[in-house]
Symmetry: C2
Subunit: 710 residues, 2 copies
């Protein structure tokens, strides 16, 4: 146990914690009146109603307390961390979830720069002791996680001579990085809000965070179908032909994306149609929609001098340009209005479903410098930390929500408070292992991540990547530059079709998982550490709240596993990838697990090797005992025909099971006014029973038939 550090030199104990909800506390350090907080940009106010029904949780810092310093324009905070405490998170970090003994600079940046720089450097970490800390500040935060030893701390290790004479050698090895006893961090700014989330498990901590941010996103049903993007130089006819080819090949397709060439000039962007390629975009959109296919438009936010809004938006833009285009300051209502009017008229009104918002992720060579100024008074730094979030806020709130139309799209950067936004992050980096890890990392910080497919060196890699993406928040092929199609590798064409079909069949399951994200804060895809059960020294299962006194197997094997993840409530995914292209290890947490395809038991609390050939080249999927998986009873080519579809309800293992099937209209925000229903499906030895939450909301799916898999 860490000894209390009491009053350390130059630090003041934080004594103004406010309990703001069950298991949530906040404090203000310094003056936050002019500081930008991420939560200001959240989709909605905290879901207090949902937070307060979670299991009660205590304030986590008792024996030692956080402290801070406000000096010379810098806010420093010190949060105690014990030596046996595991720290996770800090955003969409592709280099691993565990953040013990590391220093991170949480700056928005492109690719995976390491050291904390990433597309979504969310300043939120989770401790294995069952709490999380959210630094609610849109500043560059530099954090030292268990690195750094204050000279007056009572918890410092004893120094070890690195160059001893033989007879004096210590048993303890010399440490290049001696164990620190805190997470210390600082921003340059006048103030900072800190929010502490506690929980009965790490999952509960994450749920509180997501509910505090307004709840997780509930995408439109069509957003969960299959996506494809066409070449930047394609015109309307070529786009239609591409859609026709999907149909002909019997590959599902819900959304087709247009790349920058749809615009009259890009980059910088006009946001206006390139008439030489798209003479009648409204006709194209209509014709596609009749086939159940929606259009998504690539944009980046930088306004071309040739755009009709350029001159009007000029005074509401920053001092510096990006690619010689204006950087609108969307903290200003005037700027928002200009873009929204243009987008409404030219995009929304003709049926455009959403956007891919590129290049808001802050590469220094492209973006505005940190000293850029903006008319709203927001600093260049805070603008960079929030620009991706701000674009999501603008497009979601002022464009789609206002029109009671759900959207789903992509964004290249995000940050704290983003849980409710229907935008999935993507990257130009392309390491498959990192792409899989991103799914776990995203689940810890309220963002969604798609390991979209662009290219592959072999048919096997193509299949593996297509399988992974079909078990992510967005099943997207983004091969516009390579011109590849799902069927481009004939050896695996059938297997690729099969996994996309499986994705489609699973839509009732996936959609309900997103409803659980929205209403209860449970991420639809989750890191194993949120799922793990550890067994404590008394043999009791401790769900997701671990320390070194608990079973080290669970801690070290399952929790640190980032190449498998949970998909919805009951399915564990362990994709083949990289040099594990056809054979890999799988770690099963405790509890009985079953093969998704055969329903056969595979083990409990164990590690084993799985081979692709055993699964007939299907992606390895494992299901919990008692799990219910509702699936469409037939294959669909897109979600147009999903209404009224009958369901097959798979039941795995021997335990009784329950599933809350969520139903609404799949496309509007009417669910916010209660226009949804939950069909509680229960399976026991006796059979299936259904209970409806209310019977006045429209049914989405048809009748349910039970299929016992085991």
């Amino acid at each position: 146990m860490t000894k209390s550090t009491g009053q350390l030199d130059n630090l003041t104990s934080i004594d103004n914690w406010q309990s703001i909800a069950n298991g949530i506390w906040r404090c203000e350090l310094g003056d936050i009146s002019k500081e930008q907080c991420y939560s200001n940009l959240a989709v909605a106010p905290p879901r207090w109603d949902r937070i307060n029904v979670l299991s009660p949780a205590d304030f986590p810092f008792v024996s030692d307390v956080p402290s801070y310093q406000n000096k010379d324009g810098k806010i420093t905070i010190r949060i105690p961390a014990e030596a046996d405490e595991q720290l996770y998170g800090f955003g969409l970090q592709f280099d691993g979830l565990k953040k013990n003994k590391t220093v991170l600079t949480l700056n928005t940046d492109h690719w995976n720069k390491g050291g904390g720089r990433t597309h979504a450097p969310v300043p939120f970490y989770i401790s294995s002791k069952g709490y999380g800390v959210f630094f609610n500040t849109a500043r560059y935060l530099k954090v030292y996680c268990q690195i750094g030893n204050r000279k007056d701390s009572p918890n410092n290790p004893v120094p070890v001579d690195r160059n001893p004479v033989p007879e004096t050698e210590s048993i303890d090895p010399w440490q290049a990085v001696p164990q620190g006893d805190a997470v210390e961090g600082h921003i340059i700014g006048k103030g900072m809000e800190i929010i502490v989330f506690s929980g009965a498990s790490m999952l509960d901590v994450v749920r509180r965070y997501n509910l505090y941010c307004g709840g997780g996103v509930l995408p439109p049903l069509w957003g969960l179908g299959f996506w494809h993007r066409v070449h930047a130089a394609f015109d309307a006819d070529q786009t239609e032909a591409e859609v026709a080819a999907f149909n002909e090949k019997q590959f599902p397709l819900d959304v087709v994306g247009l790349e920058p060439g749809w615009m009259s000039s890009s980059y910088p962007c006009t946001f206006e149609w390139q008439k030489a390629r798209f003479a009648e975009p409204d006709v194209l959109a209509k014709r596609l929609l009749e086939q159940g296919v929606r259009l998504n438009l690539w944009i980046n936010p930088y306004v071309s001098p040739e755009s009709r809004i350029h001159d009007e938006i000029y005074p509401y833009s920053g001092s510096h340009m990006v690619w010689l285009g204006l950087v609108p300051d969307y903290y200003m209502p005037q700027a928002r209005r200009l873009l929204v009017e243009q987008h409404t008229k030219e995009h929304l009104n003709i049926g455009i479903s959403g956007y891919k918002v590129d290049e808001v992720d802050g590469y220094d060579f492209w973006l505005w410098p940190d000293h850029a100024t903006f008319p709203s008074g927001i600093s260049g730094e805070s603008m960079r930390q929030t620009y991706g979030l701000l674009m999501q806020n603008l497009l979601y709130k002022d464009l789609f929500k206002k029109n009671n139309q759900r959207t789903y799209g992509n964004v290249r950067s995000s940050n704290g408070g983003a849980s409710g936004y229907p935008f999935v992050i993507y990257s130009d980096s392309y390491d498959h292992a990192q792409y899989i890890r991103g799914i776990s990392a995203a689940s810890l910080c309220g963002v969604l991540w798609t390991p979209e497919v662009r290219n592959a060196a072999t048919a096997r890699e193509w299949l593996n990547r297509m399988q992974t993406v079909c078990f992510s928040p967005m099943a997207k092929l983004n091969a516009w530059a390579t011109g590849l199609h799902p069927w481009s590798f004939p050896e695996v064409e059938a297997a690729v079709r099969k996994v996309i079909q499986l994705r489609m069949r699973l839509l009732p399951y996936i959609y309900s998982a997103f409803a659980d994200y929205h209403f209860n804060g449970v991420p639809p895809m989750r890191a194993m550490m949120l799922e793990s059960e550890a067994i404590d020294i008394n043999g009791t299962v401790v769900k997701g709240k671990l320390d070194s006194e608990t079973d080290p197997y669970a801690m070290n094997t399952v929790m640190e596993t980032t190449d498998q993840f949970m998909f919805g409530p009951s399915i564990m995914v362990a994709p083949f990838y990289g040099d594990k292209a056809t054979e890999r290890q799988v770690h099963l947490p405790s509890g009985k697990w079953y093969d998704f395809y055969s329903g056969q038991p595979v083990g409990s609390h164990t590690t084993f090797v799985i081979k692709a050939e055993v699964l007939n080249d299907q992606i390895p999927l494992f299901v919990k005992d008692g799990a219910l998986i509702p699936m469409l009873s037939k294959n669909l080519l897109n979600t147009q025909g999903i209404q009224g579809c009958d369901l097959e309800l798979r039941h795995y293992g021997t335990a009784d099971g329950t599933f809350e099937l969520y139903e609404d209209d799949g496309k509007s925000f009417d669910y916010e006014q209660g226009a949804y229903r939950i069909r509680t499906l229960s399976v026991t030895e006796q059979g299936l029973t259904e209970t409806l939450s209310k019977d006045d909301a429209a049914a989405l799916f048809g009748s349910v038939s039970l299929r016992r898999m085991s």
Copy 2:
């Protein structure tokens, strides 16, 4: 020509330039009273006398002027830069000298992190237009060099559609990084001093910088001899045996270095002798000194609890420890006094010649965090930017200078204002090409760099590295960890001995080059860009002041060459390295050049290939027409016997030549009181003449004999 940007949004033209000397201007932005400037830590005040005899030079900014902003605790500066202007410098950057179109974060860091982070991130750049700008602030400076386009600048390129329809395609290509018209930078701080140096050439700009920083260092003569470090676990007997082995093998040796094991505990450090290894360090030092060999001690600054000064220095140390040792605040006289007393008694008084100051270069995982506090009130950030400089200042001024004893040693970090310090930077990185490039990079920013040798995969690599280091500011073998000796590769033992002997023979030449550094600011080893002569459109030679109107050959070939460099006034070095191990290209600037060994002409203003076999495996050295190279007329095993040595004066080519041979006692600071003399050696067709600057100072060398090489 860049158009004047006049008054840009939110920026104020700097109108408080003070002309402080011939070709030097300064201004203060904001309040610098509590900011730390690098020049505060310089070795001595500016050498106004020496600056004012340089060719006059005008203020470089006429058509457009620098401007700034002081807002929200951030100082932003904008310095105009034209599109055809080449920018160089920003410290010891191993990834190249040219810094056009780049973004740099000038933080002290270890290795070569790239992006500006390095051992000596000196905030000083030089323009091909003949001026330099020194940001005299010990803050993290983030600079955008010709990157960033203000929306109200009149110099912006016209945007180009990246996705044109064919008939509208522009002739100009789309640019990922459009040309910027300024160097913009910012610090978080209250104020900043800017110093502008102008010059008739880029070399003159560098000379002004060095003279402003108090003049370049004049090392003791022994410091320019050969160095070797022994294993950390060696005791006194093993150290003596090592020295004896050098003598037996007839390899020169002036300094032997002890690694951390000489201390009673390290790291953290006690600075006290490990009596189990060194029972009588005074006896050892005396015995070695009798053989002309000096001891150098490894230290890092972090104070062990076992050190006798620990408790007293505790209140004068920072909030955080490094490797569990205190970080003394040497801005406090009390801390300085404690260390100096200990070092004087235990090191200086027994004959220790100097130190290798390790690990002051700031790796985040090891050093104090930026939010660490120090009793003097210096910020953690400024302490990190200056700690290497501060250690040099302390050891030089309070220890050695006070005792009128010159020192020479190593340091792992430095920064602006360091020109006068007798500490040579080294690194754990080990790329030979980068190590050679470092010699050029160091010459632009007033620091010294040694490409010290540690190991080699092949005998050829060993030879090539030994050759390079013998033509650097410190000829050091630092192979303590590998246990290698200069003779460890028998195939090249003779060739290695030969190049070390050549280094020793060249000492009169090298020592005079350092005198030129000290008195006139001319770096002893120099980047080609400081040497290049370009030929302008009228056929006139323009020395070191280039723009796109001058000969592009000189600009693009010679100036950008970083794998060859100038060594003293007349020798150009082009080492073999990497995959150019036995054959490489050499670029000769204009003027006639001669082979050092044979005296044969090799060409002028040309590029050719040289092979190792042609030079009998000697390092390629080329000499200017008319050059005089004074060399010892016999081989020495160290500098002990150098006093009174006769000299061979080599003359190359056909032109008349002059050399200013510098002489003093080689070890004290008496030269500062005028105890030195200059023998001006002149060679014409008629023969050699000598003129003495004064005849009351002692002679260092004996008589001079002319040897005509061509």
